[in-house]
Amino acid sequence: MKNTISERVADFLKKYPPFNILAEHQLQKLAYEVTIIHKENNSIVFAEKEAPHNYFYVVHKGAIALTKKGSQHILDICDEGDIFGLRPLMAHEKYKLQATAQEETILYAIPIEEFKPIALENHQVGDFLIESFASNTRNPYSIKHRGKLYGVSNDGEGTAENKLLDLQPVRYSTNLVTCTEETQIKVLANAMSLNSVGCILVTKNELPIGIITDKDLRNKVATGMVPITKNAKAIMSTPVITYSKELTITQAQMALMKSRISHLCLTEDGTTDTPAVGILSKHDVMVALGNNPSVLMRAIKRATDSKRLRTIRHSIINLLQGYLEQNIPMGLVSKIISELNDATIKQVIQVCIDQMETPPPVKFTWLAMGSQGRGEQLLTTDQDNAILYEDVPEDKKEETQSYFLALGNRISVELNHIGFEYCPAEMMASNPLWCHSLQEWKEVTSHWMGNPGPDEVLLSSIFFDFNVTYGEKALADELSLHIFENAKKYPQFLTHLASGALQNPSPSGFFRDFLVEQDGAHKDFFDLKLRALMPIIDAARVLILSHSIKSINNTAERYEKLAELEPKNQELYTACSFASKALLKFRTKQGLLHNDSGRFIALDQLNKEEKIKLKRTFKTIKEIQELIQVRFQVKNLLR
C-alpha cells in the first residue's frame, strides 16, 4: 500500500542510513505506516524513565535535544535525518534520556513492530544499528555493549556532566589535497592556497609517504634553506604519523599532544600501508570541543553550507550559556556573540552570492537593523535587514532591483534555516520596501523625517540603528551623513522621535508593582522588551542622533559616549549604560531558560534579588524619560 504522502516519506528516508539499505518495497511498506508528528518548541517527545513508545523517531525538520535529567547540558542534538529513541525499543528498556524539541520540529514516527522484522532479517541494517549504538554516534551510553544489540540493559551508566568527548568520533576533512614527491614546491603551495588548507599530503601509489605543512614552507623555504625550485621530497616530513579513522576526540587530542604536530593523517586501518582517507588538524579538534570563540569563528569562515552553520550556531548558544554561568561581563559577552552572529551572516551572504548565477551588478551593502544592528542580539531573534546598493542609470533600475530582491530572498531563507526567524513585519531585504538604491533610500529617509507621523517614527527608529554587515561601508556612511543633515533641517523630527521614545507604557504601577500583561498569550507575564528595554534604547537613539554621532549603535556604548559629551549628566548616563546591560542580561538569561527570545518574564519565577535589580533599572528609565521630555519639549507636541 502506498499513497502520495508515503511515497514522499520514503523518498526522504531513502537518503539516510539505515533506510538507504532497504529494498524499495520494504521502504514503501514502512513509509505507509509512518505517523507524522508536529512538535512545538520546547515540547517533550519522551521523558527520562518513560516506558518506551511503540515508535522510534526520525527528525524530518527542526532539531531535537537529548538531555539527562537535572542537567542543562545537551548530550546530543538530532538534526534532519537523525534517528533517536530506537535503542530502548530494541533493548526493551525505559528511555535513558529526555528528548525535547529545540525548535519547531516535524518527526516521522516509525512503528517498531514494522521495523524490527526488517532489522532482524536484513544483516546490513542490523550491522548498522549495532555499529551506531556501539560507536555512540546517537547514543553515547552503550559503548560497553558493543555487538550486543538486543535485550541488554545498562542501568546507571555514564556521567552526564562532561560532554563525553572521549566517546565522540572526530569530524575530519575528507577533502584530501595531495601531491607527489616530484611536485614542485611552488605548485604544491599554490594547491594549498587554492584549497585553503594548512597542509598537503605527499602520496605514492595512493599511500601516504610524507606531509608538508605551512610550517615546513616557512622554516625550510622562506628562510632560503631550500630553493623554491626544488620538489616536495626536499621539504616533506616523513614518515607520516598515521592513525585509524575511528579516532575519538580524546584520542586525537592525545595524539596531537604526544607528537607535537598540528595535523594527523587518517588511513583505513591506521598504518601507512593503507590509503589515506582524511586529514585531521588541531583546528578540527578545537571545533569539536567548541568552547572557544576564535575557533568557532574559523569554523564559520570555513563553512560552505547552511547545514554546517546551523550546527555551529548550536555551539555558539552553548558558549553563551557558559559565559552567563560564569558571570563574564555583559559588555564583553555581547561583543563576542555579536561578532560570531555577524560572521555567520556574512558567511551566509557570501555563500548565497556564490550561488547566484551572476555576481552582483553593482556594489551593495547588507544592513542589519534593530537589535542586531545595535549589537544586542545575543539569542536568535527575528531577522531585520535591508539592502542598499549603488545608484544605477534609469534603464537598469528594474533589473538591478530584481537581482537584489532575489539575492535578499535567498539570504533570508538561508538565515531562517540556520535559526533566524523571519521578521513578522516583513522588514527584510526580500521585501521591495527594504531593498533600495542609495538615492531611493535618501528619498525614503527624507520622507520619514519630513513627515514624522507615528508610522514614520516607528520605521525610522528601526532603520536608524542600521549597521553594515557585509559589503561597501562607504554607501552606508553616505546615507548616515544624509540622515544627520536632515536631522538638522527638520528639528521637529527629533521631537517626534523623542515622543515616540516616551510612548511605551511605564514598567511599574502606582504602588511600584510590576505591570503585567492583561490578556493575550502572555497574560500575567512582564513584557521586558516593551516596558523596559525599548524606552531605554529609544532614548539613547534620539540623544545620540541629536549629537550627530555615527557608527555607535550599541545602547550601552551610546550612553557611555553621551556621558563623555555631557559631563553634567554623566551620572544619569552611566546609570543608563548599566541598566541597559543589566536588562539585556535578564533577557538573555530568560531566553536561554525558556529557549525563546526572552521577551516575556514570568515574575513568580524571579527571586527577590532579581526583582530588586529589575526595579532599580525602572528608576533610571524614569529619569532618562524625564530628561528627554524636557530637552526635546515633547510636552508641546502632546498638548
Binding site: 500500500m1 499513497n3 502520495t4 504522502i5 508515503s6 514522499r8 516519506v9 523518498d11 513509509a31 505507509y32 505506516e33 509512518v34 505517523t35 507524522i36 508528528i37 508536529h38 512538535k39 512545538e40 518548541n41 525538520k61 519547531e104 516535524i106 514516527a109 531563507v413 531562517n416 534555516h417 523571519y422 513578522p424 513585519a425 516583513e426 520596501l433 508610522d455 514614520e456 516607528l458 520605521l459 498569550a521
Partner: protein
C-alpha cells in the same frame, strides 16, 4: 399538517443520514481535543457548474499528529474533461489509479470527514466544489465547520498601516515561508499535507485559547477604543 412532514429527509440515502447523525455531538472546546480534516481537491477548472473534481485528498490531524495510512486519496471518474487543466494535475482521464463514481467518492469523503472541522487553503473553493457535486447527486450542502489557512496566515503577520499586506497568500508562498517541500504541489494529497503542516505552524504562532478563538482568528482583528 402537511407542511410539518419531514418528507424530504426520507429520500436521502443511508450514508447521508449517518453523516448528519454525527452532528448531534458537539465538538470539543479545546483545540487539541479536536480532530481536523485537512483537505484539498484537484478540479478540472474553477467553474462551479461546468468543472468537476478529479481527486479529493484529505488527512486527519489529531493531537498534532498525522497517520499516513489513515489518509484519504480518491480519484473520480470523469465525464467532463478539460485537457488544459489535466496537464497541471497530471491526472489523466484513463490513468491507472482506481477511480470511483462521484457519488461513491462523496460517500467515502463524508464517512471520513464526519463532524470534524475541515481545514484547507482557500477552503471555500473546495467546499463549494464538493457542495456542487453533492447537489448534482441530490444531496444538501456540507454541514462541517471550516478553517481557512489563507485567512489564518494573515493573522500571524503584524498589523500596521505602513506595511503593504497582500490581499491573499498562495499555498506556494506559505510553503516557502514554512520551508515545506513543494515536491507534491498539485496533487490533492500532497497539497493537503502542505496545508496541514502550514496549519500546524500557524496554529503554534496564533496560540488560540480554544476552538472558538481559532475560528474568530480568521477575521481581521477588531480594534476597541
Amino acid at each position: 399538517m402537511w407542511f410539518f412532514k419531514k418528507k424530504k429527509t426520507l429520500e436521502f440515502p443511508e450514508f447521508w443520514l449517518d453523516y448528519t447523525q454525527q452532528f448531534q455531538e458537539k465538538l470539543p472546546q479545546e483545540v487539541l481535543g479536536n480532530t481536523f480534516v485537512v483537505l484539498d481537491t484537484e478540479t478540472t477548472g474553477l467553474n462551479l457548474t461546468k468543472d468537476r473534481m478529479l481527486c479529493i485528498g484529505a488527512i486527519k490531524l489529531t493531537n498534532n499528529t498525522i497517520s499516513i495510512k489513515e489518509s484519504l486519496e480518491i480519484y473520480i471518474e470523469q465525464e467532463h474533461y478539460d485537457s488544459e487543466s489535466a496537464e497541471i494535475h497530471g491526472i489523466l482521464k484513463r490513468s491507472k489509479k482506481i477511480q470511483f463514481s462521484e457519488l461513491d467518492a462523496l460517500q467515502q469523503f463524508l464517512a471520513y470527514a464526519k463532524n470534524h472541522v475541515l481545514v484547507g487553503h482557500h477552503v471555500s473553493f473546495d467546499i463549494a466544489m464538493i457542495n456542487a457535486a453533492l447537489k448534482r447527486n441530490g444531496l444538501p450542502h456540507l454541514k462541517n465547520k471550516t478553517l481557512d489557512t489563507g485567512l489564518l496566515y494573515k493573522r500571524t503577520l503584524l498589523i500596521s498601516s505602513v506595511l503593504r499586506k497582500k490581499e491573499s497568500y498562495s499555498l506556494d508562498e506559505l510553503a516557502e515561508k514554512f520551508r515545506i517541500s513543494k515536491k507534491d504541489r498539485h496533487t490533492a494529497l500532497g497539497d493537503a499535507l502542505i496545508t496541514a503542516i502550514a496549519f500546524l505552524a500557524i496554529k503554534e504562532k496564533l496560540k488560540p485559547k480554544n476552538l472558538k478563538d481559532l475560528f474568530q482568528k480568521q477575521n481581521p482583528p477588531k480594534f476597541g477604543l
